[in-house]
């Protein structure tokens, strides 16, 4: 009997905390600070090369890197932002110049760049992206592919003023 009472009590406590978390979770978007800035990911800046050129496509293409760039706070899309992209692909290693390129976001804050197929390196299939133009704080991302066979990868930036 004792254990049953304890179980019910635990259930109530657990249920209550879930409820509290859920309610506060719903309240968060209503706060003034709004959309939080994206922090740089660990290892995101590895093999970064400053000043990758804006290109129509990296190498021969076949793989799509896409994403969005928004402003922290109100979450409004940021147009014309330069995003640098690099990865270990079928056409080169991460540090090699031909593995790097950059693109600009459109009026909706979206970017999309075709690049060679990303292959697993250092045990994980992943890409690298950087925002490093100075107007906003620098952010380095290192998104992972769910499978090495994926033909696309997404990464999203929320930037805060520098």
């Amino acid at each position: 009997m004792t254990s049953l009472v304890l179980d019910r009590r635990n259930l109530l406590v657990a249920g209550g905390s879930v409820l509290a978390t859920g309610v506060s979770g719903l309240l968060v978007p209503a706060r003034a600070q709004g959309v939080a800035p994206t922090p740089s990911m660990s290892g995101g800046a590895n093999n970064y090369r400053k000043g990758a050129k804006i290109v129509d496509r990296i190498g021969k293409g076949g793989f799509w890197m896409s994403g969005t760039v928004r402003r922290a706070g109100d979450g409004s899309p940021l147009a014309g932002q330069r995003i640098q992209i690099w990865a270990h692909t079928t056409e080169g290693q991460e540090h090699e110049p031909q593995s790097h390129g950059a693109t600009l976001t459109d009026k909706d804050g979206k970017f999309r760049l075709e690049m060679p197929q990303i292959v697993p390196i250092f045990g994980q299939p992943h890409g690298h992206l950087a925002y490093d133009s100075g107007e906003f704080k620098t952010v380095f991302l290192r998104p992972l592919m769910k499978s090495a066979k994926d033909k696309s990868l997404e990464a999203h930036f929320v930037l805060q003023p520098a």
Binding site: S42, T90, Q93, F122, G123, P125
Partner: protein, 210 residues
């Protein structure tokens, strides 16, 4: 029959190590890697294979290498394991220095890296302990407990490290090799009664002289 048994044991061991290596050699990923990176990858796979050989030698399970000869082989294979790990880490460092430095500093985004780095330090530690055992004047009991603790760290660290990597190794052969590494380690520890009171470094206990 005895000869057949000897041949079978050795063939099984060679297959357990060489099959994963051979299947890894067929991986597409090599097409897009430099020679140093490829060498580093194989050094890692071979190191995992050597981690399987070590408990088999010390347990005296390998025909032709019982007792003292098995222990001598264990000693030298331990040295080979250190060399393999150095080639693995050194080669990866040359291939992508920032990724290797992150791993060694435990700030890598890859979840398998800390397991590998901890196993590496355990391998170096046990090798140093073995090399300077006499000079350090380690008591047999200290040596045995220290070595066993580090062996457990090496086995768990290496297996988790290997299993979590999306690399050149073929999934099934990698899982099989990892399972054998764990089973061999458990078997030798049970057989040699390493965690029983009164056990010695050679596995003989006062209550059960062999």
């Amino acid at each position: 029959m005895r000869l057949a048994r000897v041949a079978l044991i050795w063939a099984a061991l060679v297959a357990a190590i060489c099959l994963p290596v051979a299947l890894a050699a067929t991986s597409d990923l090599h097409t897009w890697r430099g020679p140093v990176y490829i060498l580093a990858g194989f050094a890692g796979i071979i190191a995992l294979g050597l981690v399987l050989v070590q408990p088999l030698l010390i347990g005296g399970y390998l025909p032709g290498l019982p007792g003292y000869r098995g222990r001598r082989a264990h000693y030298w294979i331990g040295g080979a394991l250190v060399v393999a790990v150095l080639i693995h880490v050194g080669g990866l460092w040359i291939s992508s220095p920032p990724d290797m430095i992150d791993a060694l500093l435990f700030v890598s985004p890859t979840p398998f890296s800390p397991f590998g780095v901890i196993a590496m330090w355990a391998i170096f530690a046990v090798a140093l302990m073995a090399a300077f055992r006499r000079r350090l004047g380690l008591a047999p009991r200290t040596w045995r407990i220290g070595h066993m603790f580090l062996a457990v760290v090496i086995v768990i660290g290496s297996v988790v490290h290997g299993l979590l990597i999306d690399g050149t190794m073929e999934t099934m052969s990698k899982a099989a090799l990892c399972a054998l590494v764990v089973l061999a380690a458990i078997k030798v520890m049970v057989d040699r009664r390493v965690f029983r009171k009164g056990a010695t470094s050679r596995g003989e206990s006062a209550a059960n002289p062999l």
